[in-house]
Amino acid sequence: MVDDVDSEEESLFEAPPMGEQERMCEAILFATTEPVTVRELESRMPHGSDAAEALVHLRKRYEGRGVNLVKVGDAWAIRTASDLGFLMQRETVETRKLSRAAIETLAIIAYHQPVTRAEIEEIRGVSVSRGTVDQLLEMEWIRFGRRKMTPGRPVTFVVTQIFLDHFGLENARDLPGLKELRSAGLLENRPPPGSMPQLGEGDTDAEEQTSEGQNELFED
């Protein structure tokens, strides 16, 4: 809709000069704690603005400064340079201590996404407790992805923009060691040959419940 308006009104309103657009992006990004998408930027800037280009200039401007312009997924944010972390008071947000199970589950979701609960269990060799997934969902580090087109159409999990933001990742492809893991074939979902014991089977009930509940949610 915004686009339509743009093209229609382009002739009526001239977009501000690029320098001004850069200032506007700067002001908007400075003002918020959350990453802002190009779309959102443009919806707040005068018609005909090209936020993507303004961001290129802005990113360059902040290179090497005390704060930097960073890309988080398909959004942008200003963050302090990480080499200056020592200056900051940490009292701010003490992230809840994650259990080892939660950390592993998170890593598996990040590296294997989109991944089903059964797949996580297969990798960890143990059932994934509901609480672990709930905690990660609650922190908004993971969310539900598309259903897998396999029997039972199980739900999958993927990581979120908040996760990327938290770990300073531009996108999930930047996960440390991802390439190496992939080329080593360790991100493949290799089905166990024959009679291997299915680990974490105990929890299938819980999983079924979950997927059932979500069925309705995701049907579209």
Partner: protein, 262 residues
């Protein structure tokens, strides 16, 4: 489980055994399933996971389970299922392959187990690397004073003509009810009028308009005046009947006058 072990403590000969047993108990609690246990055991081989001897590993695992049994530690079903499978795998690996047998070979199964261990190990390392990254709120920071977008909610108010009229009707209706309560005061009863007339009539030697007998407060408000006029007129007639006053009216709608009858 701890009760069991406590009972068993006396059966251990020395402190070292006891310590080992305790470590075992703690560890079983600490393991995240049989795969995790296998991964831990594999470390004792001190080789790259790719070169691990699965046969050796199977033996270690089965040994662990035996020991747990001896200590009467109840292992979760998962661990026992894995033990059974590893026993099967061990026999497959030890016996020469039977060409009539179907399904994956012992080597294939062993390879998959090795893969699983390697993958779990890789995920552990990845998790560690992930958690070691610079993190928001710890190593880099977001805006401390966010100037959040003020959602200017421009509220426009509206009303329809119907709302307006209903509103007015509501007030006026309330008015109608007010007299309903007040009108009890607004009514000047015949008894009141009689009493008032009896008191005043003594002074009425000449013809006087009965409207001048209306009490204070009943002369301006139309409703009250009507009420008082009516009751005063009725009271006058009552007094005429008693022979105490005379009453007259010169023509239709002319003032009605009364005077004392001597």
């Amino acid at each position: 489980m701890s009760d069991n072990t406590y009972d068993n403590v006396s059966s251990f000969d020395n402190v070292a055994d006891r310590m080992a047993a305790e470590a075992l108990i703690v560890d079983v609690d600490g393991f995240e399933g049989p795969l995790d246990l296998l991964l831990m055991l594999s470390r004792t081989q001190k080789v790259d996971l790719r070169k691990i001897s699965v046969l050796e590993l199977a033996k270690q695992y089965l040994g662990f389970v035996e020991k747990a049994k001896a200590l009467r530690i109840e292992l979760a079903a998962d661990y026992l299922v894995m033990a059974a499978w590893l026993a099967f795998l061990k026999s497959r690996l030890l016996l020469p392959p039977d060409p009539t047998e179907e399904g994956p070979s012992g080597e294939e199964l062993a390879a998959h187990l090795a893969f699983q261990l390697e993958r779990l190990q890789a995920m552990r390392e990845a998790a560690a690397k992930l958690m070691a990254r610079d993190r928001l709120g710890r190593d880099f920071f977001a805006r401390g004073i966010p100037e959040d977008v003020t959602r200017i909610k421009r509220v426009t108010y509206t009303a329809t003509l119907l709302d307006l009229m209903q509103g007015y009707a509501r007030i006026r209706t309330k008015d109608e009810f007010r007299p309903f309560v007040m009108d009890r005061d607004a009514v000047f009863t015949l008894e009141q009028a009689l009493e008032r007339m009896r008191g005043l009539i003594g002074f009425a030697g000449t013809w006087t308009d009965i409207s001048s007998y209306l009490p204070d407060g009943f002369t301006t408000d139309p409703a009250r005046r009507r009420s008082a006029t009516a009751s005063t007129f009725a009271a006058s007639l009552e007094l005429v009947k008693e022979g105490k006053v005379e009453i007259r009216q010169s023509e239709e709608f002319a003032p009605i006058q009364v005077r004392r009858k001597d």
